[in-house]
Every structure is written in structure tokens, then in C-alpha cells.
Symmetry: C2
């Protein structure tokens, strides 16, 4: 029931995912049964491998994130997440309230042993392809150990999902030297330097779009501001180009083509092609989509969820975190 | 001697400023006398209202910011700043090492009474015109009181320099509600709400380019990352448009026009038109320019410095800070 176009886009996306994979997996549609059935009634694809679990409550953007485990235990987010806890599902996909999905994931599924804080990543475009920035808003006040764990999880996710053998990790900062930054990044730099991650050092704001690192680590406060700033660039440019067009510097046809191209350049930011972003560090697979997710985006999110399960990302994270803890203990001794 | 094109661009910019204002003020060129004289020798404008003060040392980008008051007291930054302290100049303009200019300003001139931390602002374009973001990198770990003072100084500067009666102030954050954000912004929101500033509340990353506030307040860590990210957008778009051109989606002529327009849209970011950024909160007038400042940029910086002196920005900041302190005391009692 999550997102601006639920349940229509969700149901259509799920049916498309099943159809395209010849029902390789089973989808449980969680939400108001009557509304889901109404969607199914008008759908073209009807005989796919799905079932319905009823969840009566709706958790919307105005609810506090923790309402999902307090007052709205019968929302589709709480019920859907619980199916994983009960062993009835392997992954949960939602276009609902991000904070609530994060809370449900963390509180219902629990954390992977050794992970202090689960993190939400986001994909950003760059001159060298997509990069993964984390944290994108889940954790605002972070300690160095948290940022270090984000780097570990981001490295494993990128390695597994994009077949990069040893993804480069950059620490978002305000200078290249290890002594630059705030208290948290200076300490984090030491942790990353002493790890066996492919740490390339500090990177500045100007390095993000250049693609100097495949995984960009920062706290959720900085990450969220960068993400939303980046998302706003196309509409800003559109408005500026329009202003120049009115000054006669441009032909209208020019603007049209330009807008299409700008949309392509930043398209990954609307998650459609990238199938949502992972909530990393919880004991399960949770994929979070944009509230405006199209059916196509939902389809990709489901395919991405399946891939995340198949590639055993969580087992790899658990092993890596445990390994770094041993290393840190050895160093400490 | 500061910046990548010193002393040539500096000398040319200074002569142009004098020439265009009919020598309304006097410029003291501070730096290696021989090199300055060589520039003057080849200059067309020679009979303007300037003098030279020799400063033998060069402080470059590799020096620590505090070297300016420790080991390199005879650098043009240290000598130039000291001229103000000695009452021989009313303002100091530099395209040199930003950290060093900031250190010299703070340590040689001292702070305006009541100001905890001097701040460097930066101008960003928006759909509604330029806005001033501060801090842009001078202060990385800030307390709520610091952010509050940045808001006061930014408001006064914008009011005086752009004739806005009561500039709008936005607090850069990750949600609109007053409870959103990290520990520092939640506290800062309270201080700003209780002030008589024109505080519009929290703003998100997506609101910067929309121009929802004329003054944007954040710590220097976030501000610097946003500034540098924004500066990198034109070259990223250029590279992306090129890629699309190679795919045949674009004609080359298209790219050319586009590039020119993009440059215009982001041109303010190179400081040229805006005459550098102010170091606010020090006992004097200090204008900092980009290391790549053109002669035109230097000219505007000097004109901006004169205007800052004329408009008595510092007296206004001192009065406002003292007023807010009284208000806070009253509230506390």
C-alpha cells in the first residue's frame, strides 16, 4: 500500500516481474485485500504465481517512523516485514514511508550481528557510471565506527551486485589530506586506512560526479542533503534554460531535446532503472523504492530483491563485519 | 600574490577598479615589489591612485592556514591584513589560500565583539536569484550558537548589500519539521525561531536551487560539500551531453550552445560577477576570491570591498549580535 500510486503500480509491477521471469519466484501482495483484488480484476496478467496477505492499516507520510511497530502493527509495512521474520518470505519490497520501512526492518528483523546501524544507500550518477552513496538519510548523527561499517556494507553490496572485484571507497570530506574534516571524518579516515577495503582516501564535493569512488561514505545528514540537492538539478536547469529561451537565446525545440537529455542523465536518481535502494545491515532483505515509483520501478525492485537474496549479501556482510572486528581487536591488543 | 594568476590578474584588476571609479579610492598593492613593478611596466593604465607595499614571502596552497601568523609573517596575506590593523587600510582583498586569509583575518584583526566564529559565505544561484550560503567551509564542527550567529551576519550582509529589507533565512536540514535533523540543527531551529530574524524554518537539499531562502545556514562541512558539488555540475553535464552527442542524439552545434548557456547559469559560482565572498565577523573588511580569479573578478572584489566599508556592515553586525545577546539573556531570565 506504500507510495503515491498504491496499490495500482505495486500490483502491476509485481505481475510484470512474475510474468517476465516465468514465475521464477512467488510474490505475496500485502495490503487491503479488497483494493488489491480490484486491481487484479482489471489486470491483464492474472494467472501468475502470487498470493495476498491482508493488512488493513495504512501508514502514510505523516506517521512517525516508529508508528509501524507501535500503533500500526497491521500496516502493510509491518505485516510485510513480519512475513520475513516468520520465515514466510525472503525479501520485502516497499515504496512506502522510508523511515517506517527502515524502522520496521531494524526493529522487526533486527540487525546483522556486529552491525551498529543499518544504512540506506542511494545511487548517484557520475562520469564513470553509477556510484553508491551511503548513508542517504537513515543515520544523522554518526560515529566513526558507523561510517566505517557503512563502507564495509557498501563495498560488499557493490561487489556482489555490480561484479566489481574490489570497489573503491571514498570518504566524503572537505579536503584531501587525512587531517582535513570534522572530528568524525578525521577518525573515520584512520579506521578506513587501517582496513583492507579499497579506500582511496578523502574525496570532496566536486569528486562525486567525477566518479572518483564507487562507494561514497558520509553520514545521513550530509548524504540526504546531497541526494536531494542532486535530485533538484534537472528542474533548476529546466527553469534556467526556459529563462534563456525567453531571452531569445534558444529555440523552443532546443529546450525540448535538452529536457529529455537532462532527464536521461539524472534518470537513475528516480530509482526506476536501479530498482530501489537497499536497507543494509538488517537481518533480511529490504528494498526501498521512491514514493512515486512506477510499475516498472516496482518490477525492478522485486528483481533486485531476488538478486540480493540469491547473492547472499547478508551472509557476506556478517562475515566481513566479524572479520574487521577481529582485525580491530588484534590491532587493539 | 594570491591565486593562480598573481600578480598579473591582481594588478590588472586593481588598475581597472581605480580607472573605472576615477580613482575614488586608493589601492595598496601588497607583494613582491619587483614582480608588481614588472606588471605595472607592461600595463596600459599607469597613472592611477595606488602604492606598493613590499611583502617578500609567498604563502601557497600547501602551507597550513596558521603559517600566515607563525612562519610567514611577511607573506602578502599577513602584511596586507596587518595594514588594516594598523589603520593604514580599510579593507583587504585576496585571491590567495582561503584558510590562510581566514586565519589572518581572525588572528590579526580579531573578532567583532560577541561573534564566536567568523564565517565565509558563498553565493549560489537559484530559480529566484542569488542566495548566500554560510558557512562555506571555515567552520566544520559548529554549535547551535555558531549557526545562529551565521544567520544574523548573513541577514545583515544580504540586507545591506542587496537592499533586501528583511532577507529570508533557511536552516539547511533533512526535513521540514522542527524535530527533524541532527542534534545541532534541532537546537539551532529553536534559537532561530525565537529570534526576530525572518526565519522560514528548515529547508531541504532540494530547496536550495529553488531559492526558498535568501540566506542558507549550515555548518562549514555541509556548506563546503554542497558548494563544491554545485561547482562540479557544469563539467559533469558537459561530459554527459558529449556522451549523448556521440550516440547521435545531438548535433554538435547543440552542445556548443548548451555549454555556453550552462556556463552562464553557473557563472556566479566562479565568483567573477559577485566580487568574491566576504569573511564576516572579523574586525575589518576581508574579501576572499577564487584562486582562479580573473582581472575582472579582482576588480569586482575591490568594488565590493569599498561597498562593504561604506555600508558599515561590521557596525551593523556588532549592534545586531549585541541585541540578540540581550534578547537571549532576557529569555534566560
Amino acid at each position: 500500500m506504500g507510495g503515491d500510486f498504491a496499490p495500482h503500480n505495486i500490483v502491476m509491477g509485481a505481475l510484470a516481474a512474475l510474468h517476465e521471469t516465468n514465475n521464477r519466484f512467488h510474490v505475496i501482495l500485502v495490503g487491503k485485500e479488497r483494493e488489491i483484488k480490484r486491481e487484479l480484476h482489471s489486470a491483464k496478467l492474472k494467472n501468475e504465481n502470487f498470493s495476498i496477505v491482508n493488512a488493513d492499516e495504512i501508514l502514510d507520510m505523516h506517521d512517525s517512523p516508529t508508528a509501524v511497530v507501535k500503533t500500526k502493527r497491521n500496516s502493510s509495512i509491518a505485516v510485510g516485514t513480519s512475513l520475513q521474520k516468520e520465515g514466510k518470505a525472503d525479501a520485502f519490497v516497499s515504496a512506502g514511508n522510508t523511515g517506517a520501512v527502515m524502522s520496521a526492518g531494524t526493529l522487526i528483523l533486527g540487525r546483522i550481528p556486529g552491525v551498529s546501524r543499518p544504512t540506506i544507500g542511494t545511487f548517484l550518477p557520475s562520469e564513470k557510471g553509477m556510484c553508491l552513496l551511503l548513508d542517504a538519510g537513515a543515520n544523522v548523527d554518526c560515529r566513526p565506527q558507523h561510517l566505517f561499517e557503512f563502507a564495509v556494507m557498501g563495498s560488499i553490496y557493490t561487489n556482489a551486485m555490480f561484479d566489481d572485484v574490489n570497489p573503491t571507497i571514498g570518504l566524503l570530506n572537505i579536503g584531501e589530506e587525512s587531517t582535513k574534516g570534522n572530528e568524525v571524518t578525521i577518525e573515520t579516515h584512520k579506521l578506513l586506512s587501517n582496513s583492507n577495503l579499497n579506500f582511496i582516501g578523502n574525496m570532496e564535493g566536486r569528486d562525486i560526479l567525477k566518479g572518483v569512488a564507487q562507494v561514497i561514505v558520509c553520514d545521513g545528514f550530509v548524504g540526504n542533503i546531497i541526494l536531494k540537492f542532486a535530485e533538484s538539478i534537472p528542474s533548476f536547469l529546466k527553469s534556467r534554460f526556459k529563462a534563456y529561451a525567453q531571452q531569445g537565446m534558444f529555440k523552443k525545440i532546443f529546450i525540448g531535446t535538452m529536457r529529455g537529455t537532462l532527464r536521461k542523465i539524472f534518470q537513475s536518481l528516480d530509482y526506476e532503472e536501479y530498482g530501489g535502494v537497499p536497507l543494509l545491515g538488517v537481518n533480511g532483505v529490504v528494498i526501498i523504492g521512491h514514493g512515486k515509483s512506477t510499475a516498472k520501478a516496482i518490477k525492478y525492485m522485486i528483481l533486485k530483491a531476488e538478486e540480493t537474496v540469491q547473492k547472499k549479501i547478508n551472509e557476506k556482510i556478517a562475515a566481513a563485519i566479524s572479520k574487521t572486528q577481529n582485525e580491530i581487536e588484534v590491532v587493539t591488543v
